[in-house]
Symmetry: C2
Subunit: 380 residues, 2 copies
Amino acid sequence: MDQTTARPETQHQSVTFAEGLTLDCGRHLGSLTIAYRTYGTLNPAKSNAILICHALTGDQYVAETNPETGKPGWWEQVVGPGRPVDTEKFFVICTNVLGGCMGTTGPRSQHDEHAGQPWGTDFPPVTINDMVRAQKRFIDHLEIGRLFAVVGGSMGGMQVLAWAALYPARVFAAVPVAAAAYHSAQNIAFHEIGRQAIAADPDFWAGRYWEHGVTPERGLAVARMTAHITYVSEAALTRKFGRKLQDTAQISALGDRFEVESYLQYQGSSFVRRFDANSYLTITRAMDLFDLSADYGGVLPSAFAGTKTRFLLVSFDSDWLFPTEQSRAIARALNHVAANVSFVEIKSDKGHDAFLLDEPDFHRTLRGFLAGCAEHAGLS
Amino acid sequence: MDQTTARPETQHQSVTFAEGLTLDCGRHLGSLTIAYRTYGTLNPAKSNAILICHALTGDQYVAETNPETGKPGWWEQVVGPGRPVDTEKFFVICTNVLGGCMGTTGPRSQHDEHAGQPWGTDFPPVTINDMVRAQKRFIDHLEIGRLFAVVGGSMGGMQVLAWAALYPARVFAAVPVAAAAYHSAQNIAFHEIGRQAIAADPDFWAGRYWEHGVTPERGLAVARMTAHITYVSEAALTRKFGRKLQDTAQISALGDRFEVESYLQYQGSSFVRRFDANSYLTITRAMDLFDLSADYGGVLPSAFAGTKTRFLLVSFDSDWLFPTEQSRAIARALNHVAANVSFVEIKSDKGHDAFLLDEPDFHRTLRGFLAGCAEHAGLS
């Protein structure tokens, strides 16, 4: 069943499930392709698999250069030989999320009903639960009964929580990092700025930009800039740029006066070359819709009732997008059902982005937690 | 010399100074018009005048409905008969800032060199100091030697600080509210999102939108949305909207799913009907350039050396755009030069916007401070 997607630019390793997938919105995707990468070796008992869940703009290339974008793996500090998620001990799996644009079924995939056309804005809205159901289809395909661990940060952490709630028997250990059990009003508002900027770009063409041979680059750049500011702390932004003027700066209303501005513009422009606008709309919407307790009558502990999964919750004290308080709320819910939970707030002044960066305390914590769990699981 | 500007829509009360104004950037404005409003009566000694400085999107209509926009005065809770800034005791003055779009010289005014054309993006960059020098020209015109007080919030507070630094002998009392002595990297970054969104709007036409009979409404709306989110606290946003779904909501990637989104869209769209995009660019840039200590060798206390002005600094504990810490830094600088300074952090969960809203503690504090100063000034 393995095959590669037919995108002309890059061949992403993938598998297609002809039976498709029924979504939370009630619609049915006629065909489901999951693009993935794996690292390390699955042991004969299939008991050493770790699923990594990526964030909004991540992809399956967690520990190696993405051949389409040329960017290094997004979590090479965490996943690899001798790393906290050690690929010499564990079999690491990462899939591109449903709705993404790196080979998994999403707005850029073939439309079910209009041959030769991409879905574009016709792509159905998806939820975090839908993403997790698609991942589970792939884990079933690998005939892995129980994942040793599911690990992810930000939207990846939302997926970890959904995995633990939907399939508790399939998850031995769960590590939601810099995550939350619901997307806050402020987070939704920041996403909305990005969506409005994309919709306002004349090159968006109501989502049918591919018909015009363009992409809404300027809108997408504004969206990325907005997101980027929310990912870093004030301290990190100040340390990196402060109020440094650029050498060539001249006073003008629209000129690049401060370094922070040209950096943000660069971040925006490198992003638009690699990301599909309709995927961005689809995935931000999935995050906004995430509210784990809503599926359990508004009672968060019910999401974890009877769970045997071991949890490690990690937050960063300067993260104002997914503040510690939100991880603490999850820890309280887990305590309420007498779950096995560790909760660590890491001191860092790097903001939400810290989960992607060189944070030795975080990496030590993760390594130690996985080692302890491996012992309990009879892996070591 | 008094006259009204020739804008067809609305006649704003104004005065024009034919000698113009030389700006920090070195350029000279050939003519300077200041649009203003006053409330109350100037006493014979001209000792009861309070200058109110407005914020980024404010105007001179501080205590009455703006005839152009139909919006109520932006500080009616603070300025008026019997209000904390009591127009039965004080003569209150408010001018539209230099670079603004409500009658004072700005990008929408006649170009110095091209008759019949507005300045547009040719309008020179201005600074907060330039704004204050323009205001001082107007105060001189009124033959007011010493202002009893200068009061303002946010960018208005920056102007208060600049007044106190540039013309200490002309300011008996100064009240910077929710302000800072410099614009932070994060604040600059949020402004940059707005500027990029405006520049990305095809209706911007590189700033010459009036030639095409359009305005960059979509870009300006995104800019306003971004600013608006920074003005409110997470708690205020949650209390107002939380995750409430709209009645008519259907799941779709670009639909109005959450109330917060349609509110933000409304905020954006009402704003674009009343504000000039080039003014927005000019004024945000002036804020970004503000760094009071830079004019004094990087030593903030030097800005206030020898000052006899009485200061009241006010911050709000949920304001993350101009956090308390920044007011505290100003208080420390003032203490360093043994200035007369009161500093009050008001408990509020309304964020930066609190300075414009119903905050009885703030209003009591302001009323009490002004009463004490009036006694010392021999006014009562």
